[in-house]
Symmetry: C2
Subunit: 343 residues, 2 copies
């Protein structure tokens, strides 16, 4: 499947010119209160003659209630099939807006303007749309390509550091899968504040695009991209409603890597020096989270509801070694429970 | 696009054997209270080891609330990507179940067992899924092929006559578009109780399949199938909450034909003898509905929200003559209002 490449912009002014060019019957823009204030407001000349839909920020609002708000506005404003929805925000806005647009009137065009490192390196790329439902992450969604993706590194300048770092979990994932020595060395050796984000984003996007083109509907090799994510998603959902422990997606994925690296040692004899390399990389950027026994129970329940499972077994993608992961590794609930006890 | 042909069954026992063959991790069956009692109960040997999801009947429950009920059950029962949802019912069940399955975990397999003439001749065929939202018909949905369609004419035997007749609106539509003299003659000349439903269903399915294969995503000729439906959908939605005047889909479409035939006379000089042929055919099977001025206003508002509109103009597919219709006929709101006043 041919996938359209993102367009890169070195400044807000170039991006706003490009956005203003869109020739649709009506232009809708989805933002959350944060991205409205910090991102959308910077696209001055684009801000005219469009209809803004603002929803509440954070993953806990990536749900059907927010979808209904979007559909209500589209409907009230008579959005037609020649209308477009431009999603300006992080992964949550891209996932949510993508889903809402992909089923409104059986699909209108949508575009992504990712404003976080996480969205640029991962969420905005690949045409997976979704909302959370019944406590499970991304359980309702579609495979639907955005019409265009606009990446502008300028947005990263004002991003809080914690959020900026969060995106590194996906950069790391892509570099580990691709055994991209240059990126791994940069992540390993360079101080956090000196990272070359332009390069990190580009390498991530390019690797992910390559995988998506071969397997858009995730029948085989796209499943590689789930490394760290089976456990990571469960952690993210388990802590979602705890104001103090709530994690960013990348932080949850980092915990997912820690757990799944241990699992890979057991299942595949992943070499200890490689495992340690990954764990030390994670330590450089991400906090280690301790789970209470109640949280562990929640995580187990969520793993059991993971959308990739089959016949009651939990489905992981695991590293055999760096640059070589295996999809469809089905592990029994008991094994996971044992390992989690010790974790 | 290659579309899988429906399988036909001459009796319940053959159908239940076929259904029992399905080799999925879990089988879910969607019914409404009517089809559970009158249709599902006839598939005795199939009724074991499956999980039933029952929702309330009629189009007014083809909404997100019913979807959430389906997703909740799928989720609570740990439906995975190797699970299947079998929709046993009329067009409403097929549309709703198709949509719910097509976005659950980004799409699990679903199958249709249409139990009404309307569903066999139209709704179950073609992979359009949808629910109603904010008073508009089918506004949220997907294009997604069912894995299989099972047609068993036996279901029609116990169908209330009003419902049986309703399906003729779609049979008529397909025969008029295809200028299928045999079917048109049967509809015109044979007494209602003597109609050969096996032939009517088969001809309808075959014509629709032919169109769908050429244009699954409704970019061009599939729009032909919207004849009668722009006005018909608006009528259906306008009367949906009026217990006394509420129409079946086919009855609403029949009113749609009446209006759009008049429109075609104005727009395309559709010949009067052809227009009369269609109107008389409609008179044979369908009641004529008078609209109050409040209802007319509602219809106009709904037409303005039709998902096919562009740039504020209402989009019809209209007959130039029998066997030759034209898509994308954009008509202004004013013209529609004038005609509706006189209607």
């Amino acid at each position: 499947m041919k996938i359209k490449k993102p367009k890169y912009f070195s400044s807000f002014s170039l991006l706003e010119k490009e956005l203003a060019k869109q020739n649709y019957s009506k232009i809708f823009v989805l933002v959350d209160s944060n991205t409205r204030q910090h991102c959308f407001s910077k696209l001055l000349s684009f801000s005219k003659n469009i209809i803004i839909i603002e929803i509440k920020p954070t993953d806990e609002h990536k749900n059907l209630i927010s979808c209904e708000k979007i559909w209500q506005t589209l409907s009230a404003e008579n959005a037609d099939r020649k209308s477009v929805l431009i999603n300006i925000g992080g992964g949550m806005i891209c996932d949510l807006g993508g889903f809402a647009a992909s089923v409104y009137k059986r699909g209108i065009d949508f575009m992504h303007v990712p404003t976080t490192s996480m969205a640029m390196c991962d969420a905005a790329i690949g045409g997976k749309t979704a909302v959370n439902f019944a406590n499970a992450k991304n359980i309702i969604g579609t495979f639907h390509q955005p019409k265009q993706i606009f990446i502008c590194n300028d947005f990263l300048k004002s991003l809080p550091k914690r959020e900026l770092i969060s995106g590194l979990a996906e950069v790391m994932k892509h570099a580990l899968l691709n055994n991209d020595k240059k990126i791994l060395n940069q992540l390993n050796e360079i101080a956090v504040d000196d990272l070359d984000w332009k390069k990190l984003v580009k390498s991530s996007v390019e690797y992910k695009m390559k995988v998506i083109e071969k397997d858009f509907f995730e029948q085989n090799i796209r499943k590689l991209l789930n490394v760290g994510h089976t456990f990571g998603h469960a952690v993210e959902a388990a802590l979602m409603h705890d104001e103090k422990k709530k994690l960013l997606h990348g932080e949850a994925v980092a915990m997912g890597f820690r757990f799944e690296i241990l699992l890979a040692i057991i299942v595949f004899d992943l070499k200890l020096d490689e495992a340690n390399f990954v764990l030390e990389l994670l330590d450089k950027y991400f906090p280690i989270i301790k789970f209470s026994s109640t949280e562990k129970k929640k995580i187990i329940a969520l793993l059991k509801a993971d959308k990739k499972n089959q016949n009651g077994k939990i489905n992981f993608s695991l590293f055999k070694k760096i640059g070589n992961a295996k999809i469809d590794c089905f592990v029994s609930e008991e094994k996971i429970e044992q390992l989690l006890k010790a974790f």
